[in-house]
């Protein structure tokens, strides 16, 4: 009887949605949204989980939400870590939304051009999410169809090769289906360029250098360029500029649908009032204290590198007994000497543009791929194929903008080290460090060496912090997934 057949009036259900172009477009918009959720966890799993950043210790607050994030930074996280699980979950939320689009587009009655564009965006996003997952967790369950029943949700892990094969196929489709940026500033949607650099990084990871080179070369003609100043790349006024290949979009304020970026004050020392740096009163005692630049990274900047000033600032002040920081001055990192009785705490400055619009966050975007990344990848691909002198061109293009002299040494090993160093400082705090360490094969040696220094520097660190072996190169599969799904086998070394 009709009387008991009801559907919500205030929302669509899936059987009436996914019909019109507008509806598919909005489904694609929804597939972008989880990128933000991945991001607010990925700075733990990809940046603090490296030698680039550490955290502000707070021994008086041992709540799970604090301890679990510290553990990721210290490489002692277990499989029950909620933030490890969050990166996993949000990546898959994005994948699922892409699967729905890709699947339902096939039968949709839409213009082919529109279809191709939407399919391309969805495939780029799916590939991007899987690429994040496969590098952090290894072979993961490969969902490429819409899940409609409980049974379909229980899948075994695919091999890394199978996951990569899907990423490559999706990225290739995206490259074919998407157009280069039509104008700058761009719309913020994924473009052919976004898919190209993604696939190039995949090939670089697989050491398919020629394939990578070919793709990266193609980007040189898509209109991308470096901004004049390094800091310009992160200015809210400069969103989606010619340097941007793909970035996560934010908007400050309190309007419905505005999604402010909270990272600017997550990255500051915990304080009852951050006004000195944020321009408005924000109490970040429960949200801040994360992603503090390590001295190791700071000292890795060459003298005269203007990226240091653009990337790192110094909050000067004093800690109270609760380890909250009372700001007394904002200082430059260059030649910084603390004032008497004060402590200087470095903080990430790239994404902080005071004053914030509201205490809920800022309008700063967060870069996923910048053109300088493409240039450095290109340099790497050329060098790895023995074209070391060709490699100098893109590398020095990046260095010159940073105010540094050209690198001229064409010894492949030294050039490899130089490019690796350049990536660290150019892409600092952009969540590339951990995967770069993995790709370079240096993760074990770099992190263990960093551990020796940092444990000495920070005596409160646990004796097993930054002591890593092969198993630490992958995160554990979140325990809840393993517990729920007997088909999932945990990564070795984790309970």
């Amino acid at each position: 009887k009709d009387f008991i057949e009801r559907s919500p009036e205030d929302a669509y259900t899936d059987d009436v949605f996914y019909k019109t172009e507008q509806q598919f477009r909005s489904a694609v918009v929804a597939a972008y949204a989880p990128l933000r959720d991945v991001l607010v966890n990925d700075y733990f799993t990809s940046e603090m989980h490296s030698d680039n950043t550490i955290y502000q210790a707070i021994p008086g607050n041992r709540g799970t939400s604090i301890v679990e994030r510290e553990n990721i930074s210290d490489f002692i996280n277990t499989s029950t870590n909620a933030y490890v699980a969050a990166t996993w979950q949000h990546s898959y939320t994005g994948i699922s939304r892409c699967n729905i689009i890709i699947e339902r587009l096939k039968g949709a009655d839409l213009n082919n051009e529109v279809k191709a564009n939407l399919d391309g965006q969805a495939k780029f996003l799916r590939a991007l999410n899987y690429f994040k997952l496969v590098r952090l967790y290894g072979g993961v369950p490969l969902f490429i169809k819409e899940v409609t029943t409980a049974d379909e949700a229980f899948k075994a892990r695919a091999t890394e090769a199978e996951v990569y094969a899907r990423i490559i196929a999706d990225a290739q489709d995206a490259i074919a289906e998407l157009a280069p940026p039509a104008k700058f500033p761009q719309t913020g949607e994924a473009t052919k360029g976004s898919a190209t650099i993604l696939l190039a990084e995949v090939y670089a990871t697989q050491k398919k250098w020629a394939d990578a080179e070919k793709l990266l070369n193609s980007m040189l003609t898509m209109g991308y360029d470096l901004n004049a100043n390094y800091a310009d790349a992160f200015m809210p006024a400069n969103k989606n500029s010619k340097e941007s290949v793909f970035e996560i979009q934010f908007l400050g304020g309190t309007l419905t649908g505005a999604t402010p970026n909270v990272l600017s004050f997550h990255f500051l020392p915990r304080s009852k009032d951050t006004k000195l740096l944020t321009g408005i009163s924000i109490d970040n005692t429960s949200t801040g204290g994360w992603n503090t630049p390590s001295n190791d990274l700071i000292s890795d900047f060459e003298a005269g590198d203007n990226r240091l000033e653009a990337s790192v600032g110094i909050a000067e002040g004093t800690y109270d007994a609760s380890n909250y920081f009372k700001y007394s001055a904002a200082k430059s990192i260059i030649n910084y000497v603390p004032a008497t009785g004060k402590i200087g705490v470095p903080y990430i400055k790239k994404y902080l543009h005071a004053p914030l619009e509201s205490p809920t966050g800022s309008g700063d975007d967060f870069p996923i791929y910048r053109f300088s990344d493409a240039l450095l990848l290109l340099a790497e691909a050329l060098n790895e194929q023995g074209k070391s002198s060709d490699a100098l061109t893109p590398l020095n293009r990046v260095r010159r903008r940073a105010g540094l002299a050209d690198f001229t040494n064409t010894d492949p090993a030294q050039l490899r080290a130089a490019i690796f160093h350049e990536r660290r400082v150019e892409l600092a705090f952009e969540n590339h460090r951990w995967t770069d360490l993995l790709r370079s094969g240096k993760a074990l040696s770099v992190i263990n060496a960093f551990g020796v220094k940092i444990r000495e520097q920070l005596p409160y660190l646990s004796s097993d912090a930054y002591v890593i072996d092969q198993h630490h190169l992958l995160f554990p599969i979140p325990q809840n997934e393993v517990g729920l799904n007997p088909k999932i086998i945990q990564n070795p070394g984790y309970f």
């Binding site: 909005s26 949204a33 429960s286 729920l484």
Partner: protein, 1094 residues
């Protein structure tokens, strides 16, 4: 002596007169005669006898043969007297009815002089054939007071008419409200318990649920929070679902209500019927799995015109006996000072900041410090006024009840007020064929700060015990501070300021109404119609000053409204007939439709420039949303009740329901039931069993369902909104936000019940016993699925749960003299077992180990607690070396453990303690038995009522204490007892509280068996002493004054504040027996009176 009449004599009479003849016999026989002249004079008979051999007897009889005289032997004299008139028997007939005039079939009418017995027929009529004379008649009927009628005169050949109107025995309703009608209690085949509300109304409480605690076997009513007007949980027969509600269906005057029950003024209620087994609830099939509570409101009875006024005023106070004893300022400063000393002693690189030294180095400077509990709580008044006006004539009745209740919260700046009215009108035509009635009950509730987040984790009540006693809530200028933590603590927002600077007002309007019509259009055949509405509307005005908002300075205002309502339309045909004298049939078929719909909107304002204007006009940014929802239920019902001689009872019912809430493939469910009863005490062989007045056996089986879950469209994949901002443009994205489940089917509850009802010693002692078994299959739950699917849950029929139990109720009149003493006892033993669950065979509370309090797991009981097994503290280096350690690794052999930290059991025996493999089941919240005992004393004009509830054997997980009050990091105020912690091997403290070393305290926050406590308790819920003032007033017929203590005392070994927490609240997913700082239940002292005017 009689032998003298056998003496043979010779007599010769010839046309002699009677007297002369008798004198002749006297002379011949020598036997003396008494011959009253009055009788003999005037007799014309002439007697002729000629006999040589005749007995005296023969002769006398021959003489008197034709006269109206008789004779008898008295003391050897033959006394002549008039012959008794040969008499035709007389008749006594009449009708036995109850107070309401309804016939009582099967009542026993006994003539005490002769011992003769008859029973009333189906219409309550009886006829007695008795010899003429004077009689005393007694009528008995189970659960009614027996009645005697003296000096009933029966005349020869005449019919004497005598009707009996029976009065109910104490606290026992004979005609019980059952699903879709009423039934004589003796004929009921299901398990139904009734409570007469009049005995409850002295309690100074605003919710009727509070009055019912411990009153009914198998019904657990618990107060899990002391929030004014809120916080009650009802569980019938251990009913449990994981996701659907555990609460029973409430039906008021036949109308299933869809809104909350806490707006119902207890004073409006006349009686309750608790339907427990599947037979009793069958007609509510799809919503009956948790049992049904039928509430009947007051309706005036003919001749019962009166005005009643009642009121009480009380003071509520939080009992402080079980209040957590926290450190004083001096103790806390000492703790912190020592903590730093230990840090410097044991931890290389440990440093202490200047403000820490300043605050704690000299603890002696502090006294008790700020007592946040005292600042935030108060003695609060509670008051109630009810006026009831009843008028009734033979064919119409009207009842109007007006009530006002006000309960201020024991937490400052909280409270609730309820205004309520009820109009009940009934009208019957003169021929009694047509009956029409209206019930209308509007109410208006105002809650002030009453639904603030006071209970639970992060709730304000928790804040009272974690804020620093070293800190004042005020700045020097008298304004509120924001942070109330002292050095080393985590930042806490001032709870006093939070309470004072938050205004959260809900205003709820509710109208319950219905119209019914009964028309008997053929003898025994009636049509019944009922149209009911449950209408609610609620507005909320919320404002919080930026000083205390979570995001500092984010002054927030909200205006929201909810409008909801449901209607129910029902039509039934009822056929009531007696065939061949002894076969009684009642049949019912019906149709019912119900629809619920809701609309809501919310506006939130931000950017207030000041706190002066609390309305959204003062906000610089306002955002909002609105939504709607509905569900519907369509049903057909049928029931047949049959009995033979009111002695053998059979009942069968079927309900078929379609609900919009289920998957499109599985919307319909059928819910059949059968039941049988046998009134053994009516059998002739029982007549010889002395003392047993009533004995009934009954059994039932049936299937019921449950569709009580909040979501209206849960099985449908809906599209949600997700925003993204391309290049600063707000763009709306939409996609599926939940998985569909087209096969989501009814949660089914199959229940078997067998019961016995016994009345002995003139029904002074009555006893009821029930045994039940229930199997719930297709349990509905949001099933966790791997998040790699893109979703984390799907609504699903996840498993199967078995429940069984025994219920006893005893009601006894211990003393019936001038001191009357009645006792009633309700006792239930409820058990459960999870017998099936989808993969992986368990459902955990959540994924965070420190709050993963319990697991639902196959082979275990509901909500069994899950965690580590506490084994004390590591005593010394040897103990540490030889014991498994928490998260030990090669690089950190001691892991997070050290001497003086918490040691737990290595469940999997791998030598390392970890969060996945070393936790196990550590306690069962299900009590062994629960119940209540009510003692009632009456002496002259005094009455005393003592009402107690108890629960034995259930465990409680005291998370409030262990997770929040024993934090050793100095981030929040610890319990005073935690001062006695481990400090060194020489000074190991009580062995309960571990050391404060950094990085070792995590285990203290993981659930371990230390947290499990016995939750047994005995609570004196209410003690009332009343005095009925003797009155000889023309107008005031009755005045009773009383004094009462609600929540008088709680006897328990449990160290937390409220052992009743071990009944889950209305949210079944929040767990059972988990104590996370609930709003305390106040003790209330009150004075009141009730009075009747006629």
């Amino acid at each position: 002596r009689g032998q003298q009449l056998d003496k043979v004599i010779a007599v010769k009479l010839d046309h002699a007169g009677v007297k002369e003849s008798l004198l002749t016999i006297q002379a011949k026989s020598g036997i003396r005669f008494v011959l009253p002249e009055k009788l003999l004079a005037g007799l014309k008979q002439k007697i002729t006898i000629d006999s040589d051999h005749s007995t005296v007897k023969y002769l006398i009889e021959k003489v008197l043969e034709s006269t109206n005289l008789d004779y008898k032997l008295v003391e050897g004299y033959v006394v002549i007297d008039t012959k008794p008139v040969p008499q035709a028997p007389g008749k006594l007939s009449g009708r036995v009815v109850d107070e309401k005039g309804a016939p009582l079939p099967g009542a026993t009418i006994r003539a005490l002089e002769t011992g003769q017995v008859v029973q009333s027929d189906a219409n309550g009529d009886y006829t007695f054939n008795l010899k003429p004379g004077n009689y005393t008649l007694e009528v008995t009927y189970v659960s009614f007071r027996s009645q005697k009628s003296n000096n009933v005169v029966i005349k020869e050949g005449k019919t004497t008419s005598l009707d009996f109107s029976m009065q109910l025995a104490d606290n026992k309703l004979t005609e019980v409200v059952v699903s879709y009608g009423k039934q004589k209690s003796r004929e009921i085949t299901g398990s139904i318990a009734t409570v007469d509300a009049s005995s409850l109304q002295d309690m100074p409480v605003t919710q009727f649920a509070q009055q019912l605690q411990g009153k009914v076997a198998g019904v657990q009513v618990s107060q899990t929070s002391g929030q004014p007007g809120r916080g009650m949980g009802f569980i019938i027969r251990g009913a449990a679902s994981f996701y659907s509600s555990n609460q029973p269906l409430f039906v008021i005057d036949g109308n299933p209500i869809t809104g909350s029950i806490n707006n119902i003024n207890p004073a409006e209620i006349e009686s309750y019927s608790f339907l427990k087994d599947a037979s009793a609830t069958a007609l509510y099939g799809s919503r009956a799995a948790n049992g049904v509570v039928l509430i009947t409101t007051k309706h005036a009875k003919p001749g019962d015109a009166k005005i009643e006024f009642s009121s009480y005023y009380g003071l509520q106070k939080i009992p402080t006996g079980k209040l957590p004893k926290m450190m004083t300022a001096r103790e806390f400063a000492t703790f912190m000072k020592e903590r730093a000393e230990d840090g410097l002693k044991y931890e290389p690189g440990y440093s202490v900041s200047a403000d820490y030294h300043a605050a704690y180095d000299n603890p002696e400077q502090y006294g008790e410090g700020t007592n946040w509990f005292k600042l935030l709580t108060r003695t609060a008044p509670i008051q109630s006024y009810d006026l009831t006006v009843r008028t009734a004539r033979e064919h119409s009745s009207s009842t109007v009840i007006a009530g006002y209740q006000e309960q201020q919260g024991v937490l400052i700046n909280t409270g609730t007020k309820l205004y309520s009215m009820r109009f009940n009108q009934d009208f019957t035509t003169e021929n009694n064929k047509l009956k029409i009635g209206f019930n209308l009950a509007p109410s208006y509730r105002m809650d002030h700060n009453n639904r603030l987040n006071s209970d639970g984790v992060g709730g304000y009540f928790e804040r009272f015990f974690e804020a620093s006693p070293l800190v004042s809530p005020y700045n020097a200028d008298g304004s509120y501070t924001r942070n109330v933590s002292s050095p080393g603590m985590v930042a806490y927002i001032n709870p006093l300021a939070t309470y004072e600077l938050t205004n959260d007002d809900y205003k709820t309007t509710r109208i319950l109404g219905n119209i019914y019509l009964n028309y008997e259009f053929l003898p025994g055949l009636s049509i019944k119609g009922n149209l009911a509405a449950d209408k609610g509307a609620e507005t909320r005005k919320y404002f919080q000053s930026g000083l205390v908002t979570g995001t500092q300075g984010q002054t927030t205002g909200t205006s929201s409204a909810v409008d909801n309502g449901s209607w129910t339309a029902e039509g039934n045909l009822v056929y009531n007939r007696t065939f061949f004298k002894d076969h009684n049939i009642e049949a019912l078929v019906g149709y019912s439709a119900q629809e619920f719909s809701t609309y809501n909107n919310t506006l939130t304002g931000l950017g207030f420039t000041s706190d002066d204007i609390e309305y959204l006009g003062a906000a610089t940014s306002v955002t909002g949303s609105s939504g709607a929802g509905s569900y519907s239920l369509l049903s057909t019902i049928g029931r047949v009740n049959y009995n033979y001689k009111g002695k053998y009872l059979l009942s069968a019912a079927l309900r078929r329901d379609g609900s919009s809430k289920f998957g499109e493939n599985t919307q319909w469910g059928s819910f059949p039931s059968v039941a049988a009863g046998w009134i053994v005490s009516d059998e002739s062989f029982m007549k010889n069993v002395k003392g047993v007045n009533f004995l009934k056996l009954r059994a039932s089986y049936g299937i019921t369902g449950n569709n009580f879950f909040a979501g209206n469209y849960d099985p449908q994949a809906t599209i949600g909104t997700y925003y993204y901002n391309f290049n600063n443009v707000i763009t709306q994205g939409q996609t599926i936000n939940r998985l569909p489940n087209k096969d989501l089917r009814w949660e089914r509850n199959k229940q078997f019940d067998i019961g016995l009802e016994l009345g002995v010693l003139d029904n002074r002692l009555t006893f009821t016993y029930d045994y039940y078994r229930k199997l719930t299959d297709g349990l509905i739950q949001q099933r966790s699925i791997p998040t790699s699917s893109g979703f984390n849950q799907i609504i699903f029929n996840v498993g199967e749960l078995k429940m069984w139990g025994h219920e006893f109720s005893v009601s006894s009149k211990n003393l019936t003299g001038s001191l009357k003493w009645n006792t009633s006892l309700a006792l239930s033993f409820d058990r459960n077992l999870i017998t099936n669950l989808v993969d992986p065979g368990y459902i955990r509370r959540n994924v965070t180990v420190s709050s993963d309090y319990y697991r639902q797991q196959v082979g275990h009981h509901l909500g069994e607690f899950y965690g580590f097994v506490f084994e004390g503290l590591y005593k010394d280096a040897a103990d540490l070396a030889n014991s498994p350690k928490y998260l030990s690794t090669t690089a950190k052999p001691n892991g997070n453990s050290d001497i003086g930290t918490i040691k737990v059991k290595d469940i999997n025996g791998d030598g390392v303690i970890d969060d996945v493999n070393d936790r196990t089941f550590i306690g069962d919240p299900t009590p062994t038995f629960t119940g209540g005992i009510v003692n009632n004393f009456r002496y002259k004009n005094f009455d005393l009522n003592i009402d107690m509830t108890f629960s034995v054997g259930g465990k409680i997980l005291n998370a409030a204490k262990w997770a929040y009050q024993t934090n050793m990091d100095g981030s929040r105020l610890p319990l005073a007892a935690a001062a006695d912690r481990w400090r060194s091997e020489e000074n190991p403290g009580s062995g309960v509280y571990p050391r404060t070393k950094s990085g070792t305290t995590a285990m203290g926050r993981q659930v371990n068996s230390q947290w499990i406590e016995d939750g047994s308790y005995l609570t004196a819920k209410n003690i009332t002493l009343g005095y009925t003032v003797p009155l000889r007033n023309a107008m005031i017929k009755n005045l009773r004054v009383f004094a009462s203590i609600q929540q008088a005392f709680v006897l328990t070994g449990y160290s937390g504040m409220n052992p009743e927490i071990n009944v889950g609240g209305s949210d079944p997913t929040s767990g059972v027996g988990v104590d996370e700082n609930a709003y305390p239940i106040p003790r209330t002292f009150s004075l009141g009176f009730t009075t009747t005017f006629k």
